[in-house]
């Protein structure tokens, strides 16, 4: 019931925010209106040619810089930008043909360059707006007899008042190019027919929601998708619960007063934590392989070698995956829980002991609520991490194709399928569509957990 109320509350605030949106927007554009209605000739000059207003106000260095940006952008746009932008919509018109020596358009490159062109245009617009605002600011200063900031001062402010601009420039560019641009690219790919036989030099074209329809309905993809999705959910829930509880239990165990030499006991899990994941995974793969030590002992005992990770080892492979994942993840949960447990107010325990609460009661009533509260965000990230746990089955059982699955095995998670489809088998657009589906699932789950978590209410309180 509480959960429903919370959800209702969430949607209520959401609708309130939506209602306030028009007001907010008009407030946003109030500045633009003011500039348009009050800007003088020099501001208009800056609107026409970047930096001109600044030059007219005798701000040489700044004016020259803005002018340079304009010239650079115009040059870029004429030379490649315009064609790139055009290419973004057409995705190429001329098919290449090696036979006739025709060099065709590469749709995918055109797409990516098109996105880049859009990024450049957005950046240019941002600088353009800054330019107009700056001209207006100078006008304001001049009109109210204030000294407009000298170029030297403004440059100096980059290490002081506007240090964040200097400091954030590189990270923002980096994230835009290497995180946002690729994601935008993949989102767009999900709406094209790129992949399978249609790879450059063949021309790619926009197909709308076709890929999503294929995943959900087409005999080739749909059964695989639903089977994998079911297992994926089961896996995420089971592994998160297992790792969380076991990690917490281990932390509590090591936290016990009677345990001597805590540092040494703790060292073993940390050892497991420190070893790079791929080594662990490959090691375990060897351990469970046909010729591996486990099978050696089985054969010694007279049994027959078992394909733990083989073609028809559905559940054994799944359980091994669960175990190996636990081996890798429990230590980090343990460390986290140890850190959090050291923050629990010990007075609470003393009070509980005076009240005659048993150890179990203390755990249920004090420790668990506190740790749960503190780790809700981590629990979400862990859940998402497990949902998208690529490494485990990639290393343990890579490359198996199982009947009833299209390019996947019965242990593969959506993310493995995505990898196999797009990187190993060129089903790029389908892969991108799967990515989007994964994104929607994970974001809905995390949003729901987040809204229901006790940390949600406190988020609004600001510093």
């Amino acid at each position: 019931m509480k959960a429903i109320a919370k959800c209702k509350n969430f949607f209520k605030t959401l609708s309130e925010k939506l209602k306030a949106l028009p007001k907010k927007l008009s407030a946003r554009f109030a500045g633009a209106k003011e500039i348009l209605s009050q800007g003088n000739g020099k501001v208009t000059a800056s609107m026409a040619v970047m930096g001109l207003g600044q030059l007219l106000y005798r701000q040489w260095a700044k004016g020259a810089m803005f002018l340079f940006v304009q010239i650079a952008f115009v040059t870029y746009f004429i030379l490649t930008g315009a064609t790139d932008l055009f290419g973004f919509f057409t995705l190429g018109t001329r098919e290449g043909n090696a036979w006739y020596g025709v060099e065709g358009d590469n749709s995918v490159v055109m797409l990516i360059m098109g996105i880049l062109a859009i990024f450049m245009i957005v950046l240019y617009i941002a600088i353009y707006i800054a330019n107009v605002k700056d001209a207006y600011r100078i006008q304001c200063a001049v009109d109210t007899l204030k000294e407009p900031a000298a170029f030297r001062e403004e440059a100096g402010a980059l290490l002081d008042k506007s240090f964040h601009k200097t400091a954030l420039a590189l990270p923002v560019i980096g994230v835009c190019v290497f995180s946002i641009l690729p994601i935008v690219f993949m989102i767009l790919i999900a709406f094209t027919n790129y992949g399978d036989t249609i790879v450059p030099p063949a021309l790619v074209s926009w197909v709308g929601l076709e890929n999503f329809r294929k995943i959900l309905t087409l005999g080739q993809f749909a059964p695989t998708f639903f089977k994998i999705f079911g297992w994926n959910m089961l896996w995420a829930v089971m592994s998160t619960a297992l790792n969380y509880l076991a990690g917490l239990g281990l932390a509590l165990l090591l936290n016990k007063a009677c345990v001597k030499g805590k540092a040494i006991w703790r060292a073993f899990p940390i050892l497991a934590y420190a070893i790079p994941g791929f080594i662990t995974l490959l090691g375990f793969k060897f351990m469970f392989s046909y010729g591996g030590p486990i099978n050696y002992y089985i054969q010694q005992g007279g049994g027959e070698a078992v394909g733990f990770l083989g073609l028809d080892a559905k559940w054994s492979a799944r359980f091994i995956g669960l175990g190996v994942n636990a081996w890798i993840s429990i230590p980090s949960t343990m460390l986290l829980a140890t850190g959090i447990l050291s923050n629990v107010n010990t007075d609470l325990y003393e009070a509980a002991r005076v009240d005659g609460a048993s150890a179990w009661k203390q755990f249920i009533k004090i420790t668990l609520p506190y740790v749960l509260f503190a780790t809700t965000p981590v629990l979400i990230t862990q859940f998402i991490g497990n949902f998208n746990n690529f490494g485990i089955f990639y290393f343990l059982r890579d490359g198996l194709n199982i009947d009833g699955y299209f390019l996947a095995s019965d242990t593969d998670l959506l993310i493995n399928w995505l990898y196999r489809m797009s990187i190993d088998n060129n089903y790029y657009s389908i892969g991108a569509a799967i990515s989007l589906v994964i994104f929607i699932i994970t974001s809905v789950i995390s949003l729901a957990v987040y809204v229901l978590s006790p940390s949600y209410k406190q988020e609004e309180t600001f510093r």
């Binding site: 003011e34 009050q38 600011r137 006008q139 304001c140 009109d143 109210t144 007899l145 204030k146």
Partner: protein
């Protein structure tokens, strides 16, 4: 080493919340000012605005002779001590104190390696800015450390020191630069009670030694009372009272200050006042207690409270209520108190009781009474005692506004009067009324504002007292046996004098009619515009108030203030209320168009009542006029209020 001036300082947050409202104060050099008030009252915000850590929304802040609005904290030559000390944890104490000096450059002349000044080709010294060198730095840090007694800790890190020592380091860091102003933001609230008392006196000592202006923020009224030369009491962003500790204690201007200053808190009762002849009967609510007070003690009280119907707050401090038998016996003002319990504090006992026989004496109500009694004396719980009230120390406040109804400077003198054929008789004197104060014959009331009583005139009076209040003098006059208060800018010796009345400020209520005073504020709304003109080829910009389509040229000092108070081009986009007193507008050939309604003749002076649009204006004039007139405002005497945010900017 500087005085401060805060004029119409506002802090308004983007969401419209006003943290500080119209803060006005002049702080003289070497003063120790304390801002005190409950949390959220705006005291810290004000301090942080002075420091430059918080932007000033509107108003003018001057340190010394410089307007520092918008100036960076480092350029204001101030130092600040924070509540949590804000020591740099990774630096030694020496480095903590020296850091501010290291960041600064001092003027010097160019020198060669031996330290001799290098001269330029004209034989003059070359001024340069340089950093402090090591010797200077060490000397300065040692000097500061010595003052605060932390010399031996200079090599330590802050975490190796106790709270009191850390606070000393924080002080050292502040004083080492010899700032113009020292700002202290609740510096003692993280210390335990004993240390706090000790540090309190040390800070006072430091202030004496440094001879610098101190501004100190605290929520603790004891700190405020013991340290400040003047105290600013704030609540909800408003200044409630600015005065010396003694005056705050003795003459609280409102119930909030009365309750906030002094421990235990002042006792507040509710009751009514009824004037009966020369006495005033005070009847307490929820009790059958009644005391009589001679009217002479309540002379300053506004008469409308004395009719026995209006409930007011009656305040007595704990030390002004006594259970001492002899005092009770001698006293005329007695009240029955039912004792509930007492707290023994060693030198004195606080006795809790209730004047309501059903009250419990624990809960803070309008009948609970706390009595300070010397020594140890047992009082029987639930017994009823008589307590004597010290009427000299009575405080009265309005029930709703909570403002004092017997202010130190009363607003009006309330007198009986008679008017006959244009002659006003009051206190045995008769003066002729000017035409403007036209009222029918009859008996009635006369309200003379204290500021309307001028010295030198036709009426004979006797000065019987003169007390200084915030730089002005309240003169008590005896006029034919009646009491009159007047305000003067200079000391008036006791003895005979003559007085006159400023008729335009009087209120006369006779025969059912009421003559109200002439309003002293003419408000007009308008905008602010700039115009460029070419004179002899040179471009000049002129600035105008645009009022009802008329432009009034604005002098430089006014528009500069307006520019300083607004950001961007807001000054051109806002609607303002321009205010002038009747002398600030003059009838002229051109100007704001208005319709003359009436000429008010006050004898020596004549005023024109006219209408400009919706607004009614009163303007000084030489002769009666009618019809259309033009009013030329004196833009130098204007006061400007920005309409949107209700902020006074000039």
């Amino acid at each position: 080493m500087a005085n401060l001036s805060l004029k119409h300082i506002y802090k308004v947050y983007p969401n419209g919340a006003k943290a500080v409202n119209d803060f006005n104060m002049q702080i003289a050099d070497k003063e120790f000012i304390v801002f005190v008030g409950p949390s959220g009252c705006g005291k810290s915000t004000t301090l942080r605005m002075i420091a430059g850590l918080e932007e000033i929304t509107a108003g003018e802040l001057m340190i010394g002779d410089t307007v520092v609005n918008g100036m960076e904290p480092k350029d204001r030559d101030i130092a600040m001590v924070f509540q949590n000390y804000a020591l740099y944890p990774h630096m030694t104490i020496f480095e903590n104190i020296a850091f501010g000096l290291r960041m600064r450059k001092i003027p010097d002349v160019k020198r060669d390696k031996e330290g001799n000044p290098v001269l330029d080709k004209d034989g003059r010294e070359i001024p340069v800015m340089r950093r402090y060198n090591k010797q200077e730095l060490t000397a300065k840090v040692n000097e500061a450390a010595e003052i605060l007694g932390i010399t031996e800790y200079l090599k330590r890190k802050p975490k190796e020191m106790s709270g009191g020592q850390r606070q000393r380091v924080a002080l050292g860091r502040a004083i080492v630069r010899h700032p113009k102003v020292m700002l202290l933001d609740e510096p003692l609230s993280n210390l335990d009670a004993k240390l706090r008392t000790q540090m309190r006196s040390e800070i006072v000592k430091l202030h004496k030694k440094l001879q610098t202006t101190f501004i100190y923020v605290t929520h603790d009224q004891v700190e405020a009372m013991t340290m400040g030369t003047r105290i600013v009491v704030m609540k909800d962003g408003f200044v409630k009272q600015i005065d010396t500790p003694k005056n705050l204690y003795r003459y609280p201007a409102n119930k909030f200050v009365a309750g906030f200053i002094g421990t235990p808190q002042m006792n507040f009762f509710q009751g009514t006042l009824k004037k009966e002849g020369d006495e005033v009967v005070i009847a307490f609510k929820w009790s059958d207690a009644k005391i009589t007070v001679p009217y002479s003690m309540l002379m300053k009280t506004t008469p409308q409270y004395l009719d026995g119907t209006k409930t007011v707050y009656i305040g007595f401090r704990a030390e002004d209520v006594s259970l001492d038998e002899e005092q009770v016996k001698a006293s005329k003002a007695k009240i029955k108190v039912r004792i509930s319990h007492s707290e023994e504090l060693g030198t004195e006992t606080l006795v809790y009781g209730d004047i309501n026989m059903n009250g419990d004496g624990f809960e803070e109500t309008n009948t609970r009474v706390i009595i300070k009694s010397a020594g140890f004396k047992e009082y029987q719980p639930d017994a009823v005692y008589e307590a004597a009230l010290n009427l000299e120390a009575i405080h009265l406040f309005d029930l709703d506004t909570e403002e004092s109804i017997m202010p130190r400077i009363p607003e009006y003198n309330y007198l009986d009067c008679t008017v006959r054929e244009g002659n006003l008789t009051f206190l045995g004197n008769t003066v002729s009324l000017p035409d403007a104060v036209a009222c029918g014959d009859g008996k009635g009331e006369l309200l003379i504002p204290v500021s309307a009583v001028g010295f030198g005139g036709a009426v004979k009076a006797n000065v019987i007292g003169c007390e200084e209040i915030n730089g002005r003098f309240l003169v008590s006059l005896d006029v034919n046996g009646g009491r009159l208060y007047a305000l003067s800018d200079e000391v008036r010796e006791k003895g005979e004098t003559t007085i006159g009345l400023d008729f335009k400020k009087l209120i006369v209520k006779v025969g059912g009619t009421e003559v109200s005073p002439m309003p002293l504020v003419n408000a007009l709304s308008g905008t602010f515009v700039a115009e460029k003109r070419k004179i002899d080829g040179a471009k000049e910009t002129h600035y105008y108030f645009s009022i009802n389509g008329t432009k009034v040229e604005v002098p430089a000092e006014v528009y500069r203030k307006m520019f300083a108070a607004t950001s961007g081009r807001k000054v051109y986009n806002s609607v303002y209320r321009y205010e002038w007193d009747p002398y600030g507008l003059a009838v002229a050939e051109s100007g704001i168009e208005a319709e003359a309604v009436e000429t008010l003749d006050y004898g020596e002076e004549k005023f024109l009542k006219c209408k400009a649009g919706e607004e009614t204006l009163y303007v000084k004039c030489e002769r009666p006029m009618s019809g259309k007139v033009y009013l030329a405002p004196d833009a130098g005497k204007v006061s400007v209020v920005e309409s949107e945010r209700q902020i006074r900017i000039v």
